[in-house]
């Protein structure tokens, strides 16, 4: 008891000023906490979320084809588990990690729970709100599929494959998400996707596409060929000089003036193009910073060994450059993920933010000031994913041993 008192004295009430600051801060914090809890548990009218959960998650995706989403989610879980297992087995084989770290057991489950408790909690909340059996079955199957994938992965990862076998394996693994995409999109066109699923999809596509473009732009900006350098620099500076919102509006409205109507791609495709190019320009500058952080001795050693310029770049310099700027890159990707919310307002995509606004206009809920509830709920979903990305990036960074020279 006296320990606590001493602690309070030392940390919160050391001087009269400290005491005043502590009291004021406590009052403000208490008030905010009380208001928040009051909103969540008393005054908040969450009926609107429960009724519109489907719209918020998948938009106006036809009910007849919902099964395809379920199949995709379960398949992606299996794929993710498989990939994690293969990567892990290869790392263990290369002696880069200790095999004991991933022994299945209480500690491993606790570790996973600690890493992913926020998205897991979100899923549980969504399942509870949905209140039907279907989604629960999908969730359970997903977990089972991920575990099975994770168990099969190491078996594949330990195989001694010839070069051709490795190529086939990589191709198959890369093809799975593409096949799943076509499996869904052939039934329901891109522009009928919506809700949080659309946000996730826009972000995933843009992240995958912006990365190689960003790397090439960064290398291009440092190129010794003047034409390449000028083109890359101009592109980067123009894109970085324009607000994302304006670029989205431009892609939505102005594209029609320049390109024949029939050739204008769907809204979501245009959104992906804009997000990709925008983020690629920022990525290029981040990666260029990383390239500059690699000491010139690394180039010299690579040259002295007789490596070609392409190999110098891709085997020696780029891997180090990318590692050195992981936090900035992840920050940019998180930013991209949140920016997908702009697609609704700028281009009319039926993504989460637009759904959150639209449902407050429904007959049952119009004029009741429920925008606070819908926005808060949307924000929580964005936050859960963004925060998890951020934490996983920190873990990733530690494991790569950034700063170990």
């Amino acid at each position: 008891m006296s320990g606590a008192v001493t602690w309070l004295r030392r940390n919160l009430f050391r001087s009269p000023v400290d005491a005043v600051v502590t009291v004021i801060a406590a009052v403000v914090a208490g008030w905010v906490l009380w208001r928040t809890l009051n909103f969540v548990f008393v005054t908040g009218r969450w009926e609107i979320i429960r009724v519109n959960l489907r719209l918020m998650l998948i938009g106006r995706f036809p009910e007849a084809h919902e099964l395809r989403i379920a199949v995709t989610v379960v398949s992606l879980s299996a794929w993710g588990g498989l990939l994690a297992g293969i990567v892990r087995a290869r790392q263990v084989k290369a002696g880069r990690v200790d095999a004991g770290d991933t022994k299945f057991g209480v500690r491993r489950v606790a570790d996973l729970a600690e890493r992913f408790w926020i998205p897991l909690l979100l899923v549980v909340l969504l399942l509870a709100l949905a209140g039907t059996v279907g989604p629960v079955i999908v969730a359970v199957l997903s977990v089972v599929a991920a575990v099975i994938g994770r168990l099969i992965g190491p078996v594949i990862g330990r195989l001694e494959l010839p070069a051709i076998g490795r190529t086939v394996l990589v191709t198959v693994l890369l093809a799975i998400p593409v096949i799943l995409y076509f499996y869904v999109v052939t039934a329901v066109g891109f522009d009928d996707w919506g809700g949080f699923m659309l946000n996730l999809f826009l972000a995933a596509c843009s992240i995958i596409l912006c990365y190689p473009i960003g790397v090439l732009l960064a290398l291009g900006r440092r190129s010794t060929l003047p034409l390449v350098r000028v083109v890359c620099t101009v592109f980067i500076e123009i894109i970085r000089g324009a607000p994302l919102f304006v670029l989205l509006l431009f892609a939505n409205v102005a594209l029609g003036f320049f390109v024949p109507e029939s050739l204008v791609p769907s809204t979501s495709t245009r959104a992906i193009v804009v997000f990709t190019l925008f983020t690629a320009a920022y990525m290029a500058e981040i990666i260029r910073g990383g390239l500059q952080s690699v000491p010139s001795g690394q180039f010299e050693a690579a040259k002295a060994l007789g490596l070609s310029p392409v190999r110098q770049t891709f085997l020696i310099v780029l891997p180090q450059a990318i590692r050195n700027v992981i936090p900035a890159q992840i920050g940019q990707l998180i930013s991209l993920f949140k920016d997908t919310a702009l697609a609704g307002v700028a281009m009319g995509s039926f993504e989460l933010l637009r759904v959150s606004q639209a449902i407050t206009q429904q007959d049952d809920f119009a004029g009741q000031g429920l925008i606070g509830e819908t926005l808060a709920f949307g924000a929580v979903m964005f936050w859960a994913i963004s925060y998890t990305m951020s934490r996983e990036s920190q873990r990733f960074e530690t494991r790569l041993g950034v700063g170990v020279r």
Binding site: Q298, E300, A301, A304, L305
Partner: protein, 274 residues
């Protein structure tokens, strides 16, 4: 005089008896020339780093280059594998002239190993991967063969147990030995050493020098820029003294350390040997 020294001069047969060389183009050993540097100038903007340099290095010869800092000794060996481009003159390595032709540059780099003051190991690759990278990518050696070679080289520099570690986990002396092994993996005909022990703690200098002595004994052609006078005395066939971008004096180690001719050399030796 050490065994290595005796071997170096007697094996050669055609070695000149004179202990003073008229200039640096007279090679010890067989007289078979491996590296030829002819009238080379090098400028950094207005500063002339190399002034009309003429040097030849014989096959299996060990040439130690010494001189005060800023004398152009590092620049000279960096010109030989085109880390710096010379502005005038000719450089020929094993019959291939260094020109702007990228193929010639690549060929010379394949035949020439270089060890740096700061090691310059690749921090993102394991020790073994550091060594196998160039043989696999440049010589197109299969992975298994490259790893076997890598382990042999690690045995040779006496640190096979470090193969799976990363450079950051090694001591300076160990890192420099890995760097030597990495260069040797390309089976070079010439090794260039750019102050290989200058960044090391004193207690680690000998382990690196011993590795270099082994190499010299095995008949590697070497140019070594160093401040280690003991090494020069023991291993060098010839010592080249440079100052202000010029070669001031050339001689066998005995001549050089017991009877230097030039005032500049005497001054430098008195400073460094105190």
């Amino acid at each position: 005089m050490s065994d290595a020294m005796t071997d170096g001069t007697t094996d050669g047969g055609g070695a000149p008896d004179a202990t003073v060389f008229a200039d640096a183009t007279q090679v010890a050993g067989t007289g078979d020339v491996m590296i030829e540097v002819e009238s080379v100038d090098k400028f950094f903007d207005d500063f002339q780093a190399l002034k009309d340099i003429d040097v030849k290095v014989g096959r299996q010869e060990v040439v130690v280059v010494i001189g005060p800092s800023g004398s152009g000794k590092s620049t000279l060996i960096r010109c030989i594998n085109r880390l710096e481009e010379h502005d005038a003159g000719r450089i020929v390595v094993d019959g291939v002239e260094l020109s702007n032709d990228v193929r010639n540059i690549q060929e010379i780099r394949r035949e020439t190993g270089m060890v740096f003051q700061q090691f310059n190991l690749f921090p993102h690759l394991s020790v073994l991967d550091n060594i196998t990278l160039a043989p696999r990518n440049v010589r197109k050696m299969p992975k298994a063969e490259a790893e076997k070679l890598g382990m042999e080289l690690l045995e040779r520099v006496r640190i096979p147990e470090q193969a799976k570690k990363y450079p950051g986990q090694l001591s300076g002396g160990q890192q420099q030995r890995v760097a030597i092994a990495r260069s040797l993996a390309m089976k070079p005909k010439v090794m260039l050493f750019d102050e290989p022990t200058s960044a090391l703690d004193p207690e680690m200098i000998n382990e690196v020098l011993d590795t270099m002595k082994d190499l010299a004994r095995e008949g590697m052609t070497m140019i070594v820029v160093t401040h280690e006078m003991g090494f020069a005395r023991e291993v060098a066939d010839r010592v080249v003294f440079m100052a202000d971008g010029q070669i001031v004096e050339v001689g066998t180690p005995e001549h050089f350390f017991t009877n230097p001719q030039e005032d500049r050399t005497k001054l430098f030796l008195s400073q460094i040997l105190d």
